[in-house]
Symmetry: C2
Subunit: 288 residues, 2 copies
């Protein structure tokens, strides 16, 4: 399940003979029922992203991310009781300003509606497991990035936005001194981890951090992007209030648990991942 | 704010000259806007109760308890920014089978949708506090009881149901051996605590357990009710699945935090509280 419609050109119906598309809203029970039938693994990527957006529109975030998930779980309970659902939670469930690296046992006191709804979603999965035997794995993803994100949407990833600006020779805007650490993980590593936990019986019911395990400051990230892109420059500006209120301090995930449980480890280095986005998206011939 | 309509006979418009009634659904923004205007203190008692019910109808619980609260907080943000909201959370936010007495710092991993939604509600209050300066106090109430509960609704309190049955000379049904401890608190003590925290500036932003601090087994409770009522008898039956799945093990609240912060302490002893319910409700002349 994904959240974009129409699918981007690279992902049309011809992408693979085994891929079927169901067009519909995650809140449409009939579509859900059709989509889950016969599934062994369900990757619930049809959520709504963004901490700032969620604080501006909490009711919409509730409807898509909480009611949508409850409807999906109900569809699974009725038509896919043996399936494993892999849920993309977020580092934003954690309390702000924890000592890094942060393990899965750290306190969960989210600063955003988005984080609060990820946390209640984790609870839904646990409760449906207890009551209906539903199998799930929770992945608390750090800051994912990669090709095919929409560069204009900051909420979908700061790396993509920075690359977008650098490639156009523009300024990359960094709030404050940009010292806060983030844990950036390439989408290829994310996909490998999601597949690994789905297929590992040992992972059912578990909660894992999914990150690179390495902290990078925003200023260092911006400088690296300018360096790899060979264009753009870094500009520091004061924090806007809407961003400052959801700023969570340094973050870097402790990924020992998933490494030990399923043998997954991140493989894409940050410089290579940035190069990959630039090559695959920004220097690729335009299609469609 | 309360959840019953029409109000019971004892609470009609004539109860006190300062009381105004707003008839409406908690999900109706216009009613909320009217109701919160000019308020100094808001006691949000217009929720939907019951762990078993919430598991059977999670979407309805979400709509009333999460969307309803978000709408109320939005109404406060627009029209009652200085008000203090006192929120009745629940002991059901805690992980099951914790060592008793349970302090506020204990892990929160609810077994029911109801508990999960109380937890996200606590997060809403914290987040609206950070972002909009809204003042709130979270009260994790144990097992409240008292007159004016509806005896036929188990979800509104086992004490009332037991008294109802004992007064009619019927069997009080106890699941299993009835050894699990619960912390029963009389509604008069609850009301005093809600008022105390609302008016204590030191309480803003705090989370408190609100209970008697004493654990009583279900079997002992049933025997006590038969003794005070002078009728009825105790019958032990096997656990129904729907109840077993939300059974949380022994519970008794550590109430040191609220005692220290606002000087509140419970005053109604369990035997006296049971006597009070019997006298005020079951032996009172019928009205209306």
């Amino acid at each position: 399940m994904a959240r974009s419609w129409p699918p981007q050109a690279e992902f049309d119906e011809g992408v693979h003979p085994a891929v079927r598309f169901f067009k519909g809203d995650i809140r449409d029970e009939a579509v859900l029922q059709d989509a889950v039938e016969g599934c062994d693994y369900i990757f619930h990527l049809a959520g709504k992203s963004g901490a700032s957006t969620s604080n501006e529109s909490p009711i919409e975030d509730l409807d898509v991310n909480c009611r949508g998930l409850l409807l999906l779980l109900d569809a699974m309970r009725l038509g896919a009781t043996e399936a494993v659902i892999v849920f993309p939670s977020s580092r934003l469930v954690y309390a702000p300003k924890l000592p890094v690296p942060v393990p899965e046992t750290a306190p969960t006191t989210p600063l955003s509606i988005y984080g609060a709804h990820k946390l209640v979603a984790e609870n839904y999965l646990r409760i449906f497991g207890l009551q209906h035997g539903l199998k799930s794995v929770v992945m608390r993803i750090t800051n994912p990035y990669g090709p095919y994100q929409r560069p204009e949407q900051r909420s979908y990833g700061v790396i993509n936005q920075f690359i977008h600006e650098a490639m156009r020779g523009r300024s990359i805007t960094v709030f404050g001194r940009g010292e806060q650490l983030r844990d950036y993980i390439h989408v290829d590593d994310v996909v490998e981890a999601l597949l690994a936990v789905a297929m590992s019986p040992a992972a059912a019911g578990a909660t894992y951090n999914l990150g690179s395990g390495t902290g990078t400051s925003l200023a260092d990230l911006a400088a690296l992007i300018v360096d790899v892109a060979g264009s753009g420059r870094v500009e520091h500006v004061p924090w806007p209030q809407s961003e400052a209120s959801v700023e969570t301090g340094d973050f870097c995930a402790d990924i020992a648990r998933i490494e030990a449980a399923v043998g997954w480890a991140p493989r894409v280095k940050l410089r290579d991942g940035i190069q990959d986005v630039i090559t695959r998206v920004h220097r690729a011939p335009q299609r469609g």
